[in-house]
Symmetry: C2
Subunit: 276 residues, 2 copies
């Protein structure tokens, strides 16, 4: 999916919501456990219930790998079930030397080889240029590079300053030599709302994938005010708060209600920036 197409979806749906399918078999409603593939059954219901209110789904690979081969099967079925016009993210945090990153690109982008064709993959920047560029060689595919993450551990290394520039700033600046706003996004945690204006000064055009709203406590309003650009430029991810809104038989209705709430807030935010 291109940047233009993504923006179009955002305007059409009046939403920049990304829903994280962090599906943990130990947390899904117990009645689903009788299905052959409970994780897929859960996801299918969640997707049906929420697809009208989000523009992206983010599949957190860890939750699928935790069930090994079976988990990868659930992941494949889930990806296949997501409607064409919804942006798909493999939240995989991969990245390795060049020839290995090429294999990861094959794994997540080349359906004919691996069965998977996500629109985007999250990549960790620690290993530098050649760990990132192999992903950028795939047309209309995206690298979403970790810059400033939402967790407590983001304080350990991401703020280390060299000549006045912090590590996450260096990642954003340097990576713009490798890719551009049409094939690269950045992960910026909602738990750092005060930094969004600053980040926009160094990456004005890039989409930002923003985790940390919801369970992690980030503030959607503040993020949107400081982070939105002239193509919206934001995908705000919510996982647990939506998919585990309710553990009963009514889980998908509860998820739908919760997704709708986020979408309504986003609609207001979009309307004030892009009045229809």
């Amino acid at each position: 999916m291109t940047r233009q197409e993504l923006f179009k979806q955002i305007i059409q749906k009046q939403s920049f919501l990304c829903i994280g399918l962090d599906t943990d078999i130990e947390k899904i409603p117990p009645h689903l456990l009788s299905f052959a593939d409970p994780v897929f059954e859960f996801n299918k219901n969640i997707i049906e219930a929420t697809r009208d209110f989000c523009v992206a789904y983010k599949i957190n690979t860890a939750f699928y790998e935790a069930s090994g081969v079976k988990g990868w099967q659930s992941m494949q079925k889930t990806l296949d079930y997501i409607p064409e016009n919804i942006f798909t993210i493999a939240d995989a945090k991969r990245g390795d030397i060049g020839n290995t990153s090429s294999m990861y690109a094959r794994a997540f982008f080349q359906k004919e080889q691996s069965g998977f064709s996500f629109d985007a993959i999250t990549v960790a920047p620690y290993m530098g240029e050649d760990s990132i560029t192999p992903f950028l060689q795939h047309k209309n595919k995206w690298v979403i590079l970790l810059a400033l993450t939402s967790n407590k551990g983001s304080e350990d290394f991401q703020h280390r300053a060299t000549d006045g520039e912090e590590l996450y700033e260096s990642v954003i600046r340097k990576s713009q030599q490798w890719g551009d706003a049409d094939n690269m996004m950045y992960v910026i945690g909602a738990t750092h709302p005060e930094l969004f204006s600053h980040i926009r000064s160094i990456a004005p055009d890039h989409f930002l994938l923003v985790p940390g709203v919801g369970a992690q406590g980030g503030d959607l309003q503040k993020v949107a005010e400081a982070g939105m650009n002239d193509q919206c430029g934001l995908l705000v991810n919510v996982s647990r708060n939506i998919i585990y809104a309710e553990k009963s038989d009514e889980f998908s209705i509860a998820a739908r209600m919760e997704a709708m709430k986020y979408q309504k807030t986003m609609q207001d935010l979009l309307q004030s920036r892009f009045p229809s």
Copy 2:
């Protein structure tokens, strides 16, 4: 496997060789393609041929994921085929917020959940403490933390200095608050042989996993001289130079010869440090 047991294996086998199973279906001998699982068939032959000369196998997850679900099946069969007394590494470069890293630990350490029980996993440090500690809660399991990698891109961020301390040094120093030499190793590329003495001054007891010998050009002799500690403290990885030593029917014999060559060199290096 404990550090003591690993050292015992090294002395018994007179080897600190780790063989990287970076098995690319496009590079294996063509006659194997008629098997139901060519990748596993290749690995089985390589393991049979080389198991006497190495103390560890490193499975590069990217090469398996590149074939999707089928690749994960090959990976599982391969892991199951590796003899008990050989140290196994998931070269997976994972790392995410705490609850997600817990799922990765389940994926790679907890056989009853995922089918996989590696001894160790490689982890990227960018996301800091809570991305690493969930792996450390598993008894006799190891985190192998990326510190100074072997690739060109290691120059992009890993040498950024803050108050005189480079990022990779900060990773080594700081992570010693989270784990110790009994559950944590570091990746230090053989392509930086001049830095091994320095690294030993900040991590005297930790095992180092050293990629970059062989195809990437690192120097085994220099690495051993500066990097060996009183429990050897080194696992030197060779992948392509061994497993693709030859593309004919004789590929496993060629791999065996190549592995033996590395083992002989290592034997000399071990003998001069630990005379029998």
